[in-house]
Each structure stands twice: as C-alpha cells, then as structure tokens.
C-alpha cells in the first residue's frame, strides 16, 4: 500500500513514422529505463502508433514557466526581419 516505494515517473515520446518528429505521448511509472521502454510500448504503442520511442525521466526535463510566456518569448515578436514577408520583391516576380 502506501509503504510501497513509488516507481519513478517517465515521460514518453513517440515517433509515428520514420522521419517525423517525436511527440510527447504521455507519462508512466517504471523502475528503470528498460522497464519504462517496455511499459511505453504496451501503454502508448499497442496499435502501431510508433516506430520509435523515447523515455525520459520526468525529473530530467526543464520547462519554461507559463507565467514567463509573455516576456520569455517576447523578443521574437519585434524582429519582423526574421520572416520572409519582411522583404519586398518587385511585383510579378516569383522569387522561389
């Protein structure tokens, strides 16, 4: 019962097809990495949802804080010159 040791928490990432990015699928508890991989296969890939799996200890993930979302990402917004639309090209010409 509660005296039992909890298994560590792992985050599971799945790659749906070769060449695609890995996506967070969910989390699970497992004793070690190998066990986490096996559980991830059973829980998150029973119907061909993945061709590859990553398991990462949840404690190893550093995330940005939601309260920082504005200021943290703000600097990107005033740099319009990072976007192709910033650049004018003569009308009627296909640049690419």
């Amino acid at each position: 019962m509660s005296s039992e040791t909890s298994w560590p928490l792992w985050e599971v990432f799945t790659q749906g097809n070769a060449g695609e990015p890995f996506e967070h699928a969910g989390s699970l508890h497992a004793t070690d990495a190998e066990h986490a991989l096996q559980n991830a296969r059973d829980v998150y890939a029973r119907r061909g949802e993945a061709v590859n799996l990553w398991v990462v200890p949840s404690s190893a993930i550093t995330a940005s804080a939601p309260s920082d979302a504005g200021p943290f990402f703000e600097p990107g917004n005033d740099k319009a010159y990072r976007h192709p639309q910033f650049y004018k090209v003569p009308q009627g010409i296909r640049v690419f």
């Binding site: 039992e4 699970l28 190998e34 066990h35 939601p66």
Partner: protein
C-alpha cells in the same frame, strides 16, 4: 449537500483564468488554476480512472468462457485497453499534484467512487456484447465531449481513449448482432442482457442536471461541455435505431420518437436505484472491491521484484 468552504482566490488571477477558459484556451499543469478547479478535476479524473480499472472485472469474468478463440482474443485486448485507459488517466491526474498511490488506496479501501455500472453482475455471454454496445457506447458519447475539456492532459488522454473505444463498441455490437440472428435461446439471452443493462447504462451519465451538484461548476470551467441530460439524450438517440436494426426491444414502454425535437423520449429513470448503488449497495460493490484488493495483493511480489531487478541492474552497471 455538504457545504464546502470556498477558498479565497486572488480575483485578478481568477479573472485571467476565466478569460483563458472563455477564449477556449487549454489549461496546462503548471498554469495557475483555482483550487476548486484542481479539486473538481482531481475528483472527476480519479473517478474516471478507477472506473476503467474496475471495468476490467465484469469482463474479465468471461475471458475463460468466451465462445470462440476470436471472441476470446478480442475480449483480452479490450480488457488490456481498459487497463491502459486507467493508466492514461491516473498519469493525467498526477499532473494535478496527487500521488497515484493515494488514489489506488482510496479505491482499495472503498472510499473512492467509480462508475456504478460496474457494480452489476455479468450473468451471460450476451452481457459482453451489451456492455460493449451500451456501456462503451455511452462512454464514447461522454468522452468525445471530454476530449474538448479545458484541462490539456485530460483532453489528450480522452482523444487517445476515444480511438480505442470505437473498437470496443464495434466488437460489442458484433456480438449482439450475431446473437440476434442466432437460435431462440441466443435471442432470449441477448434480450435479457439488454433488459438488465439498459437502465443502468442511462444512469451512467449521472444524475439529472437539476440534481447534479457538480455540473454547474464543471460546465462553467469547461471541464464538461454538455450537461448530463444532453449527453444521455444523445446516447438514446444513437442507440434506438441500432436496437431496431438488430431487432431487440429496449425495456421502456414510454420510449417514443418526438418528431418536433427529433429526440427519442424515454421514461423516468429510477434514481433511487442509482443512489443506492452509488452508496455501495449494488449487487456487486463488495465483490468488485474484494477482487481489486486481491489483484493488488497478488501483484505485490511483481512490483517488488521489478524494483529489485532495477536495483541489481543499477549496481552491475556502476560496478562495470
């Protein structure tokens, strides 16, 4: 109704939170949320997870007696899915800051609630068909809407679950449709299962809106997007034509089509039965808890062995 004290929330934070909800934004684990939102979600998600776990028991009852290898494989796969659904939702609940061991313990000591439908016995093979058809059908109606719930981890778990429930419902309906074309004894067995499960399935959507203490708050915060009564009506409207198609009778003399509302109107639900089962007096409440506790105890050595194995591997890696 017990009156719980409403924690004082910072009005500015609360207003910002409610504006995000109104804008259709998804709330994520590290976002600020009112304590009541966290509590209500924890309660609802834990009940949902428990229901998936206890839901394995009535069906597990028939795995060894499935009438063919095909049916047996399907049933094992379905029960395995239910375990997976329980895991998705327990993990989702943990993002709210609860420990799943506490949730397990609440289930094991009988203080947690789960869907009352699983406190009814599965007496015949036809019950496997009717559970897939009615109970998983009702779950799909419910969960399709929950997939748009405001809490991100819950909504994402629901998307995953809904995909799998479709298999459950179809395997159930196939069993029913097969029995409906069978011998008189098979037809009778099917009709009997339908008679026993119809009303408890309607009760799965919870009390009528006017008697549902949690609905208003859950709707306001878009954990729920439709009321219990709206979802129940949707389920009835979907299910009546399916019953007609395979020639079974739904046990409700008041069932009739209302051309104006395009709804199948149904008779009065016996809410005294519902509350009685919720309070622990259903036909199988005791048996389900005993079975769950026995499974938990019998699995203890596996959990201990897995930990010992991991510790041994870690030692041999560090020694190498």
């Amino acid at each position: 109704m017990t009156q719980t004290t409403v924690p004082q929330e910072d009005p500015a934070l609360l207003a910002a939170f409610e504006a995000r909800i109104a804008a259709g934004e998804s709330i994520e684990p590290k976002d600020w949320m009112p304590e009541r939102y966290r509590k209500q979600l924890t309660r609802m998600m834990a009940q949902h997870a428990h229901s998936e776990i206890v839901g394995m028991l009535p069906e597990g009852n028939w795995i060894t007696r499935a009438p063919s290898l095909r049916r047996k494989m399907s049933l094992i796969a379905k029960v395995q899915d239910e375990a997976g659904h329980g895991l998705y939702i327990y993990c989702g609940t943990e993002t709210l800051g609860v420990d799943r061991h506490d949730l397990f313990n609440q289930l094991l000591d009988g203080s947690a609630k789960y869907s009352s439908i699983f406190n009814y016995p599965t007496l015949s093979w036809a019950d496997m068909g009717v559970i897939g058809w009615f109970v998983d059908g009702a779950a799909i109606v419910n969960q399709t809407v929950l997939a748009k719930a405001s809490y991100g981890p819950y909504a994402r778990a629901m998307v995953r679950i809904c995909k799998e429930e479709n298999f459950h419902k179809r395997q159930g309906f196939e069993i029913c449709a097969t029995l409906a074309k069978g011998t008189p004894a098979q037809k009778e067995m099917l009709q009997d299962a339908v008679n026993r499960f119809w009303w408890p399935s309607l009760m799965m959507f919870g009390p009528s809106d006017k008697d549902s203490p949690n609905s208003a708050e859950l709707l306001k915060w878009r954990v729920k997007r439709k009321t219990n009564d709206e979802l129940r009506q949707r389920f009835v409207n979907l299910t009546v034509p399916q019953a007609q198609a395979i020639g079974v009778t739904l046990p409700d003399p008041d069932l009739r089509y209302d051309a104006a509302t395009k709804n199948w109107e149904f008779g009065e639900i016996d809410w005294s039965e519902f509350w009685d089962v919720v309070k622990g007096n259903g036909p199988c409440n005791v048996e389900r808890l005993e079975a769950r506790n026995a499974a938990h105890d019998a699995g203890r050595w596996v959990r201990e062995a897995a930990l010992a194995h991991a510790a041994k591997n870690a030692r041999s890696v560090s020694a190498a």
